[in-house]
Symmetry: C2
């Protein structure tokens, strides 16, 4: 069996996945925990515990659902309820290894670009569909962090100025149209339309998952809702393609695999006419991610192995603590 080269940790709003990862992105041992939200002490304890339990003498990469400043500081993680926590520094002191911290969707796009569906491609955009919409960008083969570490927030590309209210506080972000939460909201509105028939009527708690399950069972309203979400996703994808011309737009995140049969064709159909040169150029591929829930762990681990010598890792934030 190949030797692990790093530990990857993916910290989502509700669950935390940690694993030892080989150079080709294979997970060796894996651990799963509930994310301790709104409690920095417990948060650090659980991270420390899983890293020590995996017990690999290697660097550690952590992907976090939040905005990460250079130096590995969680500036703002609304879903985990943490602000201004210098995670890389505190965690490396505890575990005695270098720790790299990055945004979870940025970790995911790196994984897909290195060992997933976008393998071997230099320019890759990714949207992650879940409770919200995340994103990440690889340009010239390198993850884009931006000036303050906040790049890749493709969920907040605006598709309709003044449109639907987004959880971020703004309006018209693609997250407000294509997240699981948005799918449920759109379904609720359509059920309110006079004469709409659907198995969703009477569902006690309408969520993105419930909508997707109804679509799979053949419910036409649910299918139309997913296609609507997809068509807004395609508009955001077009803006991203016009801005940086990737070979592929990857769609991942927890909601993607099952919603894909309705979301992806609609996204492709709405993206294409919004591309500059639509009448003669070939649209980039728009494809489902291949690493599923492992993408964040794999990408965080791979980023950690790239060492502090690269500016990408410097930007993501490495703190010393040699073993």
């Amino acid at each position: 069996m190949a030797t692990p080269v790093a530990i990857g940790v993916d910290v989502g709003g509700t669950k935390l996945l940690a694993a030892s990862v080989t150079a080709d992105g294979t997970l060796v041992d894996r651990l799963r925990r509930t994310t301790p939200a709104r409690d920095e002490g417990r948060f650090l304890d659980v991270l420390t515990e899983v890293i020590l339990e995996l017990g690999v003498d290697a660097p550690i990469g952590v992907g976090v659902a939040g905005m990460i400043s250079p130096g590995g500081v969680i500036r703002y993680g609304p879903n985990i309820g943490i602000r201004d926590l210098p995670l890389a520094e505190l965690l490396s002191q505890r575990v005695g290894h270098a720790v790299t911290v990055t945004n979870d969707a940025s970790a995911a796009v790196l994984a897909e670009q290195r060992v997933g569906v976008a393998r071997g491609l230099d320019d890759v955009a990714m949207f992650t569909l879940g409770t919200g919409v995340g994103g990440g960008l690889v340009v010239n083969g390198r993850l884009v962090f931006g000036a303050h570490g906040f790049a890749g927030e493709l969920g907040h590309v605006v598709v309709a100025a003044g449109g639907r209210r987004c959880p971020c506080g703004s309006r018209g972000c693609v997250e407000a149209y294509a997240s699981g939460t948005a799918m449920a909201a759109i379904a609720r509105e359509r059920l309110g339309d006079h004469g709409a028939t659907s198995t969703l009527r009477g569902e006690p708690e309408l969520t993105g998952r419930v909508v997707t399950e109804a679509a799979e069972a053949g419910d036409e309203l649910a299918q139309a809702v997913l296609a609507e979400a997809g068509s807004w996703l395609g508009v955001a994808a077009a803006s991203v393609v016009n801005a940086f011309d990737p070979q592929i737009v990857v769609v991942g995140g927890g909601a993607a695999p099952r919603a894909a049969p309705w979301v992806l064709p609609a996204a492709m159909q709405s993206m294409q006419p919004h591309l500059l040169g639509a009448d003669w150029r070939q649209a980039p591929a728009l494809e489902l991610a291949s690493l599923g829930d492992d993408a964040g762990v794999v990408g965080a681990a791979l980023l950690a192995t790239e060492g502090s010598g690269t500016s990408s890792v410097r930007a993501a934030g490495v703190r010393g603590g040699e073993p």
Copy 2:
């Protein structure tokens, strides 16, 4: 006087500027011509003529209003009426020097990032306001070309899906709201509103320039039109900032300097609330370009000096022809 290190040529839809350029971006000799549109033979002749007239033994960079494929091929230049012309190859055969071809707005952002208002900053986005809206991106200090050379088309970031018709054939692009052409169109609509008073009423030919001149003369409707264009520009800028997190968003192009007093404050005001983390993060600077009409020439020349050893120049397209 410093020695020129390259020749830069900026080919716009109506005029063509060529100059010998020093390493610090100073123009030494400069020539101006009318762009021969819809005539490949004349187009090549005029370019050859200005380059030979400048007579500098140095590489040549050409910025063109159009979509440029690797290898320096003009794939699509609607304003100059040229398609699928292998400009770098044909021109280097004629002038006996390496020729680099890139998009004109990409050349402009490179110039602003190397020697203009964004000097020393690694991550820069630029919008150019003219007849249309162009754009360019610098990430990690390097111009972004994308997978097919089409990156940086920020004029076609969508601000309102299904909105105003854009000259590109799509709807809702920021170009359809913030170009000179769009400013005139918005003014025409506002003049149609019942009771609107303005010195613009009765203008035989309403253009972006006429609107700007009226704004400068104190016309409130004209000022409101420019502010409206600016507020749409701010939405597009927010999408770009959420995606790339640059230190600065530069606004240039022929229409920018005089429209800036109304466009820039409105753009800043609408950009800020659309940024993820708007309530705590500092918005990037949004500033007027400093190189004016010279930006394209300077950027094209600087790109040419970076040699075929860098992938950016490979992507922009270099053809041999050593002297």
